[in-house]
């Protein structure tokens, strides 16, 4: 078995510890960024829905401000966003490299993306449900929590799955500019005529993505009645 692997992926078999280290770094980036993005994205998404014209806490200025900020960061390609976030990263976490240095750019890439996913999921809650809740004497916070969020759980789970998959893509890109992880590993060696390294990394990421997608679909299905 080892012999067979040595013959088809020699450059990976020569440095399994480095591959493992890169894999762990990628997991660390995901584990640090995903929960914070989830919370911040949820708050911003809910804020947009609540503040939109006709919303339960309508507020033109909050709606415009949050919406524009989200659009601004969504429109910057991630590779450039990661570059311009280096200064901020040094300021906040003290470094712009390594797993730690990747968190700030990853958050700026993911939070606006997830906020829009949350907004889309919540926009699918039928207005009749909101009206019914109002007729029962619910206040705006009650409506946001007990109707909007509760009813959009499947949509938010689906949006979260998509966001997590795109976050994996971001970590690979962050790797390219010094954050470590699988992306860094693949680019460091794959470009030196060790293409088998790149293929193995792609395979690992493929497995991770399918796993996330499967679990996400299953949770979403379970939450749909």
């Amino acid at each position: 078995m080892a012999e067979f692997l040595n013959s088809i992926i020699p450059n990976v078999m020569s440095k399994p510890d480095l591959l493992w280290k890169a894999f762990v770094e990628t997991l660390q980036m995901l584990a640090l960024t995903a929960p914070i993005s989830f919370l911040l994205g949820l708050v911003l998404g809910v804020a947009v829905v609540a503040a939109k014209p006709g919303g339960v806490l309508r507020n033109k200025w909050v709606y415009l401000l949050v919406g524009k900020v989200i659009d601004l960061f969504r429109s910057i390609p991630f590779i450039l966003l990661a570059l311009i976030m280096m200064e901020l990263s040094r300021l906040v976490v003290g470094t712009a490299t390594g797993v730690k240095g990747a968190i700030i750019p990853l958050l700026f890439g993911t939070v606006p993306f997830f906020a829009r996913q949350v907004e889309t999921a919540m926009a699918e809650v039928p207005p009749g449900l909101i009206e019914a809740a109002e007729s029962m004497g619910c206040g705006p916070w009650d409506i946001l929590w007990r109707v909007y969020l509760k009813e959009s759980i499947p949509g938010i789970v689906r949006g979260g799955t998509i966001t997590l998959v795109s976050l994996i893509g971001f970590t690979a890109m962050a790797g390219a500019i010094g954050a470590g992880g699988l992306g860094n590993f693949a680019i460091s060696y794959g470009t030196r005529h060790q293409m088998d390294v790149a293929y193995v990394v792609i395979l690992i990421i493929l497995v991770m993505v399918s796993l996330i997608q499967t679990v996400g679909n299953r949770i979403a299905k379970k939450a749909t009645h």
Binding site: L129, E131, M136, G137, K150
Partner: protein
């Protein structure tokens, strides 16, 4: 129980849509009050002015002795938030008030991610009931609406009629004094409509709850309402006890609603199409007779045959029980020398006679 005084609602600024125009209504406690109109007549907006889901542009809304809004008409200033002397119930108090005004909808509006029991318990949050008391309340309500075995089901597993029953249970959770029904049976088939209307009537009789029924179907009004208001173009054009409005409609729109539930108006289509059924010999007349509660039991047809020697051949006849009293009519061809005298006699007996065609 509910008093609307000069309520108007304009959507979208000065040149906006005038959905409700100067409506004043008084709905007594325990009454089932119908508001009927074609789509766009303003009836759904009007019912939302009762629980202030829509705030009137001007007018006064009083429910159970409490003023929910009193907004003076101030010409163009009425569109401005800062009308002087406008009274609005504070939000927190309004929310408490809404718990005493249940509402059901055409599309049921159940929460799809919650079970039937959770839906019914939804408005009980903050009511101060213990978990056990709330559960008992839900069980009681589900029994009341005839769905005791559906507590654990999700709305997607229910039929339309069952969904509306759950919605009724939910609307009654806080023991409201008023139940607003916004086209509650319009998405249901005729049989299910009947059973839902019967349920609403039973609840009205059992609890004395005041019910407001919004509909575009005269059959609904006929089935359960004590009083009815007919809306057209944002105004209430006719109002009164269902029987009186039915037996003596004054407005064209009211007549057109009545025509939808009786076949007495079909003869006009036949006449227009020159159907052989309504072909006349010279001297013959086609008449439509409408009876009220005082003369429906009298043998007026035999009477005119005997007295005036006219032959009466009946094309259609129709008979309904409205609000406990009979209401009927028939369309017939009269032939004979003394047709005019026969009609005069009928009019004396308070039968409304319309001559539709002369031979």
């Amino acid at each position: 129980m509910i008093r609307l005084e000069h309520v108007s609602k304009i959507f979208g600024g000065k040149a906006g849509v005038h959905a409700v125009r100067d409506v004043s209504l008084e709905i007594a406690p325990g009454e089932i009050f119908g508001i009927i109109g074609y789509s766009g007549a303003g009836k759904s907006t009007l019912v939302r002015c009762i629980n202030l889901l829509e705030e009137p542009t001007c007018g006064k809304v009083t429910v159970d002795g409490q003023v929910l809004a009193d907004i003076p008409a101030a010409g163009e200033k009425a569109l401005n938030e800062q009308v002087r002397g406008a009274v609005r119930m504070p939000q927190a108090q309004l929310r408490e008030m809404r718990k005493k005004i249940g509402m059901i909808f055409q599309q049921f509006n159940l929460m799809p991610s919650r079970t039937v029991a959770e839906n019914v318990a939804f408005p009980l949050k903050g009511s101060g009931l213990s978990r056990e008391a709330a559960a008992a309340k839900v069980t009681g309500l589900l029994e009341l609406v005839g769905l005791p075995d559906k507590a654990g089901a999700y709305p997607s597993q229910l039929s339309g009629g069952q969904k509306q029953r759950v919605a009724i249970a939910r609307a009654l959770a806080n023991d409201p004094k008023v139940l607003l029904c916004d086209e509650a049976t319009s998405a249901l088939d005729p049989q299910t409509t009947q059973s839902i209307l019967r349920l609403i009537r039973d609840i009205n009789q059992k609890t004395g709850i005041t019910v407001v029924v919004i509909t575009h179907e005269m059959a609904v009004v006929k089935e359960i309402c004590h009083k009815v208001a007919v809306m057209d173009g944002g105004r209430v054009v006719e109002e009164g006890r269902v029987y009186d409005v039915f037996s003596n409609p004054r407005e064209e729109v009211t007549r057109s609603f009545i025509a939808t539930t009786s076949n007495l108006s079909k003869v006009e289509e036949l006449i227009e199409a020159n159907d052989p059924m309504v072909a006349l010999e010279p001297g013959e007349l086609i008449v439509r007779l409408s009876y009220g509660r005082n003369n429906v039991s009298e043998a007026t047809i035999s009477e005119i045959s005997r007295r005036f020697g006219v032959d009466v051949s009946i094309i259609y006849s129709n008979m309904e029980i409205l609000d406990g009293a009979p209401l009927g009519g028939l369309v017939a061809i009269l032939s004979g020398e003394k047709g005019r005298e026969a009609i005069g006699y009928l009019s004396e007996k308070n039968v409304v006679v319309e001559v539709l065609k002369r031979g």
